[in-house]
């Protein structure tokens, strides 16, 4: 079932890539994606995708805002002659469990200016993040956990 | 029919192993039937030829070039053919016994048969190319026969020496022949002879002569090319008798005789022959005096005889009869003496005359043969050799301006030969006490070891008494062929009183005294050692060594194993080639040297590529170099985009990405960069590469000036969609217009992948050790 839904999603991607909207192209896309999925078996479950569209949108706006904020701060810092930075590598305990959750979290952390995921512990419990503006460790951890992680888990779970 | 008898030996030779299998060890005797058949055939033609007829026979081989297996039978070739087949018959018979218990006699007989064909071919060919072919074949068979004792180093040395010297001559001869064809337009000898081309008029005549003589002199062992002949005595005795005395060494003489009508009668011709002939006959005779090995004495005396022949031919028509006569006689008595030497060796276990003596008693028949040989050698009556000597003396005075010199030289030679003949033939048999090498006993030689030399010796006697038997039938036709005009001899033992009688007597007297002087005992004297060395093969050895050394030096210099040297050489060739062409074929127009219209960002992309390259060059870490390459690749793809080539840009970028991956997968196993080179080397390399790069830049600028819109591209532009149904012209070219490129190109990829796989996965045998 998950393969089928993925097939459908990818077919839409196909149709928009090609820019031709008609039934034959849809069928071709379906066929091609069938091969794609066959070639790349081993994907995780992606069910429940559609229910979460509002959440995704909500998250999207939140994240954009975060990025703009951070970009501003960063821009300021790059352009002013002195650095007012407080860099640190912080280990943050995660609630995220599955690989996809962790990856999503890690990537979004990295995508946020000023922070960079360095690594995830082998037992997948801690994520090590490099930040440029550490006020204190706990507030940084809270910021990540309550801001990003929770929203992600809402969507994914 | 001539072809059959020429080729008979060659045809039979592959069958020899079979014959021996069928007939056992005695087969050797029966093989003598082959030369006998040839002899009989040519014998039967004597009347025809002596009547003045010339037989030619044509067999087309390469008609386009007028090359054929054509044969020419005139007096000269008939005489030779009879000698070759006649003496051949006897030598084969003799060999049947001599080689009886040899392990590799099959090869011996095969080669001997091939030799016979080759030699007949040389003297009978009417085609220069065919002649050359047979000429080379005689050299080769001689090589294999000298090297019969293949694992003996002496044999190897002698065989190679003989081959190289005669081969070198062959090379020149070949050149001469091609030139003759170039000048006359035909390879056919009879045509060249009969149409009366005047090669003497060619401005290259001296060169032609030099080339031809080099061929003849090497083959006929004229000083300074003589040294191979004594060394060739490593061959089994029948070979020495047959090849290196009676027949093959006379091929050079044949050649000179053959071309006498069109090249002779010229001051260059005469004097060259005179000088070389005289030198050879004197030196050969002189060296023969000091030898102790019967075969070596005979070898040097053969040398001298060959010199005499050339010497005689230098007198033009005046010397021809003498030359022909001496040629014929010499084959008889020298063949006989050689065979005798072999028989003595067989019976007494040595050929060293100091170790032998008094053999007359135990080996009377051999003694008689020896007597006949010695007397003929000395030119005593009533042997035919006597007549020959008289003719020689008469010829020697024919050039009045050098009369005294030449008669003096020939008499001197004859004196020495008189002595050495006695040393070789008389010494082992004379005396009362039987002298043998230690521990040796006398073996009775078989009849087959005695009959052939006996027959040869007796023929000399017979013809001496009845010179008429050969005069008009053999000698005159041969002489006529050489001179190109009709020649008449008047052979007889007695020609009345003349200055010849005292000259002859002086020869005999001094010769005998010289014999008594036993110069051979002085073999180890400092004087002779020096003389021997002077006339040994030192030049040959030196030349080989020099060639050796030069080859090693040059090859070591060039093929030195340094890849960068190879690359630098290529670059220098390129710089030199392009540079000199630019200078010689210039001036070249270049596009205007300005940067008009170049955009700012284009400079940046170009800079990215340029500086990236510099980065790759200067990088001290491998990974940085790879990263820099990544920058270069990226810059190049940007450039492609900027100038409207999205397809290449896409491909370039993906490939670069994959290449980085490849590098990375390999690199961590490779060592760090080291700087191996010195500063001077760096500077040299920088100069070379910058000059090469500059050449390319110049080329581009020149070509850009000539660039025009291509009609091919226009065709693609207008037809890509209409005819090939595709709008991406580049892709249409790849899969349709020039699909063949692509098909081949993916094969390249496939092979590369196989290569990578095999290189990585295959465990080599060395690894297992």
């Amino acid at each position: 079932m998950k393969a089928f839904s993925l097939n459908i999603i990818l077919t839409f991607v196909w149709v928009s890539l090609t820019g031709v909207f008609d039934i034959t192209n849809f069928l071709i896309g379906f066929g091609i994606n069938y091969m794609v999925i066959w070639l790349s078996t081993g994907l995780d479950d992606t069910t429940g995708y559609f229910k979460k569209i509002p959440l995704i949108l909500n998250f999207g706006f939140y994240f954009m805002w975060e990025i703009i904020k951070a970009n501003y701060q960063l821009t300021y810092d790059i352009l002013t002659p002195t650095h007012k930075m407080n860099p640190a590598i912080i280990g943050i305990p995660m609630d995220a469990k599955s690989d996809i959750e962790i990856a999503l979290l890690a990537n979004l952390i990295t995508l946020t200016p000023g922070t960079l995921t360095i690594d995830v512990s082998t037992d997948k419990k801690t994520i090590y993040v490099h930040t440029m503006y550490l006020k204190d460790k706990q507030s940084f951890i809270d910021e990540i956990k309550l801001g990003l992680e929770q929203k992600i888990l809402q969507i994914v779970r | 029919m001539i072809w059959l008898f020429v080729l008979l030996g060659l045809i039979v030779s592959p069958l020899v192993p079979l014959l021996f299998k069928l007939g056992g060890n005695k087969t050797g005797y029966f093989i003598a039937l082959i030369p006998l058949a040839v002899f009989v055939y040519f014998f039967s033609l004597i009347p025809v030829i002596s009547a003045g007829e010339i037989i030619t026979e044509k067999h087309h081989w390469i008609p386009a070039f007028g090359i054929g297996l054509n044969f020419l039978l005139d007096g000269l070739s008939l005489l030779f053919a009879l000698m070759i087949s006649g003496i051949g018959t006897l030598v084969f018979l003799y060999s049947g016994s001599y080689m009886y218990s040899e392990e590799y006699k099959v090869r011996f007989f095969s080669f001997l048969l091939i030799f016979m064909t080759a030699m007949l071919g040389v003297v009978l060919s009417d085609d220069l190319i065919a002649l050359f072919l047979f000429w080379e074949l005689t050299s080769l068979t001689s090589f294999f026969l000298i090297g019969y004792k293949s694992n003996s180093e002496k044999s190897q040395y002698a065989a190679l020496q003989a081959l190289l010297v005669t081969g070198l001559g062959g090379m020149f001869l070949f050149g001469a022949f091609i030139y003759i064809e170039y000048y006359t337009g035909t390879f056919t000898i009879s045509e060249i002879l009969s149409t009366g081309f005047d090669l003497r008029g060619s401005h290259l005549y001296p060169w032609l002569l030099a080339f031809l003589f080099l061929g003849a002199f090497t083959k006929s062992a004229q000083v300074p090319f003589h040294f191979w002949l004594p060394n060739a005595m490593e061959a089994p005795t029948p070979v020495s008798a047959y090849l290196h005395s009676a027949t093959m060494v006379k091929a050079g003489v044949y050649l000179v005789a053959r071309f006498n009508p069109i090249l002779g009668e010229h001051i260059y011709w005469n004097n060259t022959l005179l000088i070389f002939g005289a030198t050879t006959m004197i030196i050969g005779a002189f060296l023969s005096l000091y030898q102790v090995d019967m075969k070596r004495i005979l070898a040097y005396s053969t040398l001298s005889a060959l010199g005499i022949l050339m010497f005689t031919l230098s007198f033009g028509n005046e010397g021809i009869i003498a030359a022909v006569l001496f040629l014929f006689i010499h084959s008889l008595y020298k063949g006989s003496l050689f065979l005798l030497a072999g028989a003595v060796d067989h019976s007494a276990g040595s050929r060293n005359i100091t170790q032998l003596g008094g053999l007359m008693k135990p080996l009377p028949l051999l003694g008689i043969i020896a007597m006949m040989g010695v007397l003929a050698h000395a030119g005593l009556p009533p042997f035919l050799a006597f007549i020959g000597k008289e003719e020689l003396y008469s010829a020697a005075v024919s050039r009045s301006e050098i009369m005294y010199l030449s008669i003096g030289l020939i008499i001197m030679t004859k004196i020495m030969l008189f002595a050495s003949g006695f040393q070789a033939g008389w010494k082992p048999f004379s005396g009362n006490r039987i002298l043998l090498p230690e521990g040796q006993e006398i073996h009775k030689p078989s009849w087959f070891l005695m009959i052939p030399p006996l027959l040869l010796g007796s023929l000399g006697l017979l013809f001496g008494i009845f010179p008429g038997l050969i005069g008009t039938s053999l000698i005159d036709p041969a002489a006529s062929a050489i001179s190109g005009t009709i020649m008449k001899s008047s052979l007889g033992l007695w020609h009345g009183y003349s200055w010849l009688i005292p000259a002859t007597l002086v020869t005999y007297g001094l010769g005998y005294l010289l014999f008594r002087a036993k110069l051979y005992l002085q073999k180890d004297s400092a004087f002779f050692k020096q003389a021997e060395r002077a006339f040994s093969s030192w030049i040959y050895d030196l030349k080989l060594k020099a060639f050796d050394l030069a080859s090693y030096k040059i090859t070591k210099l060039l093929q030195n194993g340094y890849l960068r040297f190879y690359l630098i050489t290529i670059l220098l060739v390129m710089i030199l080639g392009l540079g000199s062409t630019m200078i010689l074929k210039g001036p070249f127009e270049s596009v205007r040297m300005n940067f008009e219209g170049a955009r700012f960002y284009e400079f940046i992309v170009a800079g990215l590529i340029g500086i990236g390259t510099l980065g790759a060059i200067l990088a001290t870490a491998r990974l940085s170099a790879v990263a820099a390459l990544g920058v270069v690749g990226f810059g190049v793809s940007l450039l492609f985009i900027l100038f409207g080539a999205p397809d290449i840009a896409l491909t370039q970028f993906t490939i670069d990405t994959l290449s980085v991956l490849l590098f990375v997968l390999v690199l961590y196993r490779l060592p760090r960069f080291f700087n191996f080179s010195s500063k001077a080397v760096h500077i040299r390399d920088i100069i070379i590469s910058i000059v090469s790069g500059a050449m390319i830049t110049l080329l581009i600028l020149f070509v850009l000036n000539e660039t025009k819109q291509s009609k091919v591209s226009q065709y693609y532009a207008s037809n890509s969609y209409i005819l090939a149904k595709g709008k991406n012209v580049v892709n249409v070219i790849l899969v349709d217009f020039r699909g063949a490129d692509t098909l081949v190109e993916i094969t390249v990829l496939a092979i590369a992948a196989i290569g990578v796989y095999s290189l990585l996965k295959l465990k080599s045998k060395e690894d297992e050790l």
Binding site: - | I611, A628, G630, F634, I641, P646, T657, V664
Partner: protein, 91 residues
Amino acid sequence: MIDLDFWISFLIMPILGISVILVFMRFLIGPSISDRVVSLDLLVTVGIGLIITYCILVKETVFIDFALILALLGFLSTVAFAYYIEKKGEK
């Protein structure tokens, strides 16, 4: 209306060009290999910007596909370098 081409040619492209120079300077400076990789990564990103701008400048949209490829595969070399460093570390 404004002359878009003019502004792109003489404002946007130069800005992007200067960015390329800056990024490339970091590449040359290094000092560590990771610095170079970071700058290579950014170089690709700038390249994407450059190409899209160029698409507008020359009114030709086919180059967008190149930007697409850059976006998809640009990080592959970065990953490769990281792979190298890690492999090297294993030894």
